[in-house]
Amino acid sequence: MTWIVQNLWLVPALPILAAGVSALAKQRNRMFAASLAIGSMAISFLLSLWAFAHVLWLGSQGEVARQVVNFRWFQFGTEWLKLGWMLDPLTAVMLLMVTFVGLLIFIYSVGYMKHDENFTRFFCFLALFAGAMLGVVIANSLLLLFMCWEIVGLTSYLLIGFWYANPKAAAAAKKAFIVTRIGDLAFFLGMVWLYAQAGTLLFYDGGAGCLEHSALLRLVAQTTAIGMAASTGIALLIFCGAAGKSGQVPLHVWLPDAMEGPTPVSALIHAATMVAAGVFLIARIYPLMSAHSGMDIALTPTVALQVVAWVGAITAVFGAMIAVAHYDIKRILAYSTISQLGYMMMGLGVGGVAVGMFHLITHAFFKSLLFLGAGSVIHGCSGEQDIRRMGGLRKLMPITFATYAVGMLALCGFPLFFSGFWSKDAILHAAHTWSVSQAPFYMGAFGALLTAFYMTRQVYYVFGGKSRLAATSHGLHHASTPPHESAAVMTIPLVILAAFAMLLGLIGMPAWPWLQSFLDDKRATLNFAAFSNVGLLAVMVSSSLLVFLGLGLGWWFYGRKPIADADAPDELGQLQPRIFAVLGHSFYVDELYGATILRLNAWWSRVCDWLDRWVWNGAVQTVSHLVLGFAWLDNFFDAHVVNAGFDEGCQSVSRGGQVLSLLQGGRVQSYLRTIGLALITLVVFLLWGARG
C-alpha cells in the first residue's frame, strides 16, 4: 500500500490541527489564523490531488481502485471496535471538490471578513468544518462518518450563529442544529441497527464489511416485525439523516434560516459541501440502498431508492416554487439549493451514484460561485440583501456580474456550454427511463423551468435597470458608500469558479462519460454516437426548450421594462397575488411546525414539569403529610385522651385528698368544735327518739 493511502488521514487531520492551534492562539494574530487555515487547506488539496492521481493510476493498471486502512479504536467485551479510512473513486472526487472549493472560499473569506472582530475564530471554525467534512468523505466506517457528520453539524451551528449578538442568527443556529439532529437521531438508530445485524460498521473490510456481499445477503434476508427487510428499514433510517443534512422536505426548514451566517459560510457549508454530505452518504451506502433479495439489481428499484427518488423529486419542485417569490438574495439561493439537492437525491434514486454525484460536483462549483457572487454584491451594497433595493449593478460590479451570469446559466442548465446542463440532463434522462413512474421526470422538468425563471428574475432585479440603493436607503449602514466592485481577493476566486462552472460539464457528457465510468471503476471511451440515442436527445431538446421558456418568461416579467421603484409590487405577484403570497411565505411550513410540533413539544415539557411538581412530588408530599397527620393524631390522642384521662384521674384523687385533708387540719379547736357539734346533734337525736 502506498504512502498516500496510509496517510490519507492527514487530509482531514491537518485542517483540524490548524483549527486547534488557532483556537489556542491569541485572538489578535489575524493573519496567523488565516494563513494557518489556508495553508492547511492547500496542503490537503495537494494531498487530495495526489490521492486522485493515485486512484487514476490504479484504474489504469486495472487494479481494484478501492483501498482501505482500518485501525482499532477501543475494546468492548472480546471484540475491538474498528474505524478506518478508504480511498476509492468516490472519495477521491469528493476530496478534490471539497478541498478545492474550500480553498477558494477560505481565500475569499480573507477579504469578506476583513473587518470582523472575530476574524480568527471564523477561520478556526472554517478549518474545523473542512476537517470534519473531509473526515466524512474518507471514512470507511459508518461510525466514523457519523462522528465527523456530527462535528460538521456543530461547525455549521457555530458558523450560522457566528454573529451571535444578533438574536436571529442565534435562533437560526439552534434551529439548524436541532432540525438536522432529528434526522441524525434516526441515522443513529439506523446505525446501531446495522451494527446489530451486520456485526460491523466498517464499510469495506476484506469481505467482512457491512456494504459487502455477505453482510448484504444477511440484511435482505432478515425481516422485521412489519414485514420489511432489515436492509430497507436501516436504509430508510439512515436516509432520514441524509434528508436532514441535505435539506430535503420536510426537514428543509433550517436551510433558509441558515443564511443568517456570513456569506462565505453559506457558500461553503450551505451550498457546496455540508448540505451535499447527505447526498454523498446515500452514494456511499448505495450498495445497502439498492440491496435486493437475490441481489439482482436489474429489476425494480428497492423501496429505499424509490423513497429517495420521490423525496428528491418533491423537494426539487418545492424548493424551486418557493424561490420564485422571495426577495432576499441569499434566501432565493437557499431555496434554489434545496431544490438542487432534491435533484441530486432524485438522481441517486432513479439513476445511481454517478448521476447524483455528477450533479453534486457541478452544483458545488456553480452554487458556491453564485453565493460568493451574492456575497460580493452584499459587500458592495454595504450589507443590503433585499433584491428590490439593488439594481443596476451590471455596470458598477462588472466582474461580479459576469461571473454571476455564468453561475446563473449553469444553474439554469443553459444548453451545451454550462456544466449544469449536462448534470441535470443526466438526472432527467435517468428519470425518464425509470421503471416505477414518470412523475419524477415531469416534476424535474417543471423544476427546470422554474429554475430558469427565478434565476432570471433575480438577475434582473440585482443587476438590471438602475441602482435603487441610494433612493431607498433607510438603515444606518446604507448609502454611505455607493455600490462598488469587490477586491481582487474576492473576485479572483469568482473567476476561477466561473471557469469550472462552465468546463466541468465536459467530464460527464454522454459522449464522454468520464466521471460516470470513473465512479463505476471503468474506463471512459469517447463515443459521440451516444447522442444519437433517441430518448437522450429528446430529453436534451425538451429540457433546453424548458430552459429557454423559463428565461423568456423571466425576461417578460422582469426584463421587458426595468424595475424602477424598490417599493413597486412584483410583476408576477400582481398577476397571482394569492399564490405568490403562499410561496413568499414558503408554503407556511415554519408556521405549521410552530403551531403543531413546537407547540406540542412546549406543552409536553410543561406537562412533564407539572407531573414532576404535582403528581410525583405530590404523591411524596401526600405520603409525608399523611405521616405528619398520623403523628399529629397520635400526639393528639396522647395529649388529650391518654394524658388527659390520666391527669383527670390524678386530679380527682388529689382533689378528694384536698377535701379530706380539711378534716385533718391538725388544730385542736376545730376538733373540739366538731366533737361539740356532734355531741349536741347526738343529744338532740336521742331526745327526739325518747319523746316518741
Binding site: A23, Q27, W73, F74, Q75, F76, G77, T78, E79, L143, F146, M147, C148, E150, I151, L154, Y157, G161, Y164, A165, N166, P167, A169, A170, A171, A173, K174, F177, I178, R181, I182, L185, F188, L189, V192, W193, Y195, A196, G199, N601, W604, S605, R606, V607, C608, D609, L611, D612, V615, W616, N617, A619, V620, S624
Partner: protein, 518 residues
C-alpha cells in the same frame, strides 16, 4: 492481592484529614481550604497508584483485605475493587477536588465545611470498596450525614426542606434495603456480596430464603419479589429512577453548588454502583421477572426528565434534570443486559457493549456534570448568586473564554462525538438496541430534547445582545483556566481515546456479564 492495605488507607485518609482540619483549622480560612484540597489530592494520588497497579488483564477483585469482625454474625471486614470499583474511586477522587475548588468562596464555618466534604469522600470510598453488607451499609448511610449538613447549613433559601426531604427520602429507601438484606441474612447467614452472588448464580439463594422464611401467605415467587423490591427501592431512590426522583431537583438546586457537584458527580453513582454490584449479581432473576415495567421506568426516566429540564428556568435545576436523564441511559443499559440470559454469542457481545457503555457513561456523566455545575458556581460568583436562564444574555461578548469552555462541557453533555459523552451513549444504544429494541428507540427522544435545552442555554445565556447589567462581567481568570484545563482535557481525551478507560474495565465487564446466569 497485595498485602499492603491500600483500600483501608484510602478510606481512612479523608477521615484523618477531616479530623485534622477540625482540630487545627482554626480561623484561617485559606489554610483550611488548602489543607482540605491537599488531602483530596493525596487521595487522588493514591487512587492513581491503584489505577497504575491494577491488573486489568484480570477482571476480578483485587487489593482485597478480609478479616473476621463479628464472628457470630458472619460479619467480616472485606474490601476489594474490580474495574467498576476502581473507576468509581477514580471518579470520586476527581470530583471531590472539583467540588472543593467550586466551594472556595464559601465564607462561613470554612473548616467545618471542608471537613464534612472530606468525610463524605471517605464514605464514598468506603461504599465503593466494601464487599460485606455490614460495613458497606454503614458507609452508605453515613454518607447521608455530611451531605445533609452541607445542604442544611450552607444551602439556598429553601435548604431546610430540601435537606430534610433528601435525608428522609433516601432513608426510606435505605430502610427497605436493610430489611431486604436482613431477610436474606436470616435465611443464609451471609452478608458477603461475593458469597451471595455465588449463591444466586447457583440458583440456591432464593430457595434457601423461601425455605427458611415461612411467610405462608405468600408464594415463593412473591417472597423473592418482595425482597428484591426492598433492595431495588434503596437504589432506585439514590440513582434516581422516575418516580422516586423528586428529592433530587430540590436538593441539587438548594445545595451550595460545590456540594451539588459532589452529589451529582459522585453520590449519584452510589445508586448505580448498587445496581451493578448488588442487584444484578444477586437479584438478576427477579429483575428479569419484572423487566418490562423496569424498562418503561427507565424510558420514562430518560424522556420525562429531559422534557422536565426543558421547562426549567434555573440553570441548576436544568442540570439536575439532565443528570437524571443521563443516568437513565445507564439504567436502560443495565436493564437491557438482563433481558436474555441465554448464551448466544452475538447477544453476549451486545451485553458487553451495553455494560461497557454503562460504566463509561457513569464516569463521563460524573466528569461532565461536575464540570457544568462548576461553571454554574463560577457564574454565580460573578453574578452575585443569579443563575436563571433569563437573567443573562450575550455573555459571549464579555466572557468569550468562559463561553467557549462551558460550551465544550455543554456539548459533552449533549453527546457530541469527539467529546467524552458520545462513546458511552453509543455503546449503551448499540448494546441495548438488539436486546430491547422499542425501549431503546424511544429513548432516542431523550437525546433530542437534551440537544434542545442545551442549545437553549447557549442561546439565552451566551448569545443575543449583551444584557446591560453584565457589561463588566469578568472573563475566566488565569487561575480558573488552569484549574479547568485538566477537566476539559479529560473530556477530549476520553472522547478521542476511550480505550483509556475501557481497556481497564473491559475484563471486569466480561466477568459481570458472564455471571448473569440464572
Amino acid at each position: 492481592m497485595t498485602a499492603f492495605p491500600w483500600l483501608t488507607i484510602l478510606t481512612i485518609l479523608p477521615v484523618a484529614g477531616a479530623i485534622f482540619l477540625l482540630a487545627v483549622g482554626g480561623r484561617n480560612k485559606n489554610f483550611a481550604r488548602w489543607l482540605a484540597l491537599a488531602f483530596s489530592f493525596l487521595a487522588l494520588a493514591l487512587t492513581l497508584i491503584l489505577w497504575h497497579n491494577f491488573n486489568s488483564a484480570f477482571g476480578g477483585m483485587q487489593f482485597q483485605e478480609r478479616y473476621t469482625w463479628i464472628a457470630t454474625l458472619g460479619v467480616e471486614y472485606h474490601v476489594g475493587i474490580d474495574g467498576l470499583g476502581l473507576l468509581m474511586l477514580l471518579l470520586s477522587s476527581i470530583v471531590v477536588p472539583i467540588g472543593m475548588v467550586a466551594s472556595w468562596q464559601i465564607q462561613e464555618r470554612v473548616p467545618l465545611y471542608f471537613s464534612l466534604v472530606l468525610l463524605l469522600q471517605a464514605c464514598l470510598f468506603g461504599t465503593f470498596t466494601a464487599l460485606n453488607f455490614f460495613h458497606w451499609f454503614i458507609f452508605w448511610e453515613l454518607g447521608l450525614v455530611p451531605a445533609f449538613f452541607l445542604i442544611k447549613l450552607w444551602g439556598g433559601p429553601r435548604r431546610t426542606s430540601a435537606a430534610t426531604q433528601f435525608l428522609v427520602y433516601t432513608m426510606v429507601g435505605s430502610i427497605a434495603l436493610l430489611l431486604a438484606f436482613l431477610a436474606i441474612f436470616l435465611a443464609t447467614g451471609k452478608f458477603d456480596f461475593i458469597d451471595l452472588a455465588q449463591l444466586a448464580q447457583n440458583g440456591q439463594l432464593m430457595p434457601a430464603v423461601i425455605a427458611k422464611l415461612s411467610w405462608h401467605r405468600f408464594t415463593p415467587e412473591h417472597v423473592a419479589l418482595i425482597i428484591f423490591a426492598g433492595a431495588f427501592l434503596g437504589f432506585a431512590v439514590k440513582v434516581p429512577l422516575v418516580p422516586f426522583h423528586t428529592w433530587l431537583p430540590a436538593a441539587y438546586a438548594e445545595a451550595p453548588t460545590g456540594t451539588t457537584i459532589l452529589l451529582t458527580g459522585a453520590m449519584s453513582k452510589m445508586g448505580l454502583y448498587g445496581f451493578l454490584r448488588i442487584l444484578l449479581p444477586i437479584f438478576g432473576a427477579e429483575m428479569q421477572v419484572v423487566l418490562t415495567p423496569l424498562l418503561w421506568l427507565a424510558v420514562a426516566t430518560i424522556v420525562l426528565s429531559a422534557y422536565a429540564a426543558l421547562a426549567q428556568k434555573d440553570l441548576k435545576r436544568i442540570f439536575a434534570y439532565s443528570s437524571i436523564n443521563h443516568l437513565g441511559y445507564c439504567l436502560l443499559g443495565i436493564f437491557a443486559v438482563v433481558k436474555f440470559t441465554g448464551g448466544d454469542a452475538a447477544l453476549t457481545a451486545e451485553k458487553y457493549a451495553a455494560m461497557n457503555g454503562v460504566l463509561l457513561q457513569m464516569f463521563n456523566h460524573g466528569l461532565t456534570a461536575a464540570t457544568l455545575f462548576w461553571f454554574v458556581a463560577m457564574l454565580e460568583k460573578r453574578s452575585g448568586g443569579l443563575r436563571g436562564l433569563n437573567d443573562f444574555g450575550g455573555l459571549r461578548k464579555v466572557a468569550p473564554v468562559f463561553t467557549g469552555l462551558m460550551g465544550i462541557a455543554l456539548f459533552s453533555s449533549l453527546g457530541l462525538p469527539g467529546l467524552n459523552g458520545f462513546v458511552g451513549e453509543f455503546l449503551i444504544f448499540k448494546g441495548s438496541f438488539p436486546l430491547v429494541t422499542w425501549a431503546t428507540a424511544l429513548s432516542v427522544l431523550g437525546l433530542l430534547v437534551t440537544a434542545i435545552f442545551i442549545l437553549g442555554i447557549l442561546q439565552r445565556v451566551f448569545s443575543g445582545p449583551l444584557n446591560e447589567k453584565w457589561t463588566t462581567l469578568p472573563d475566566l481568570t488565569t487561575g480558573e483556566r488552569l484549574a479547568l484545563a485538566p477537566a476539559i482535557a479529560l473530556m477530549f481525551a476520553l472522547g478521542l481515546w476511550p480505550q483509556l478507560v475501557l481497556g481497564v474495565i473491559d475484563n471486569t465487564v466480561i466477568q459481570m456479564v458472564q455471571q448473569l446466569k440464572f
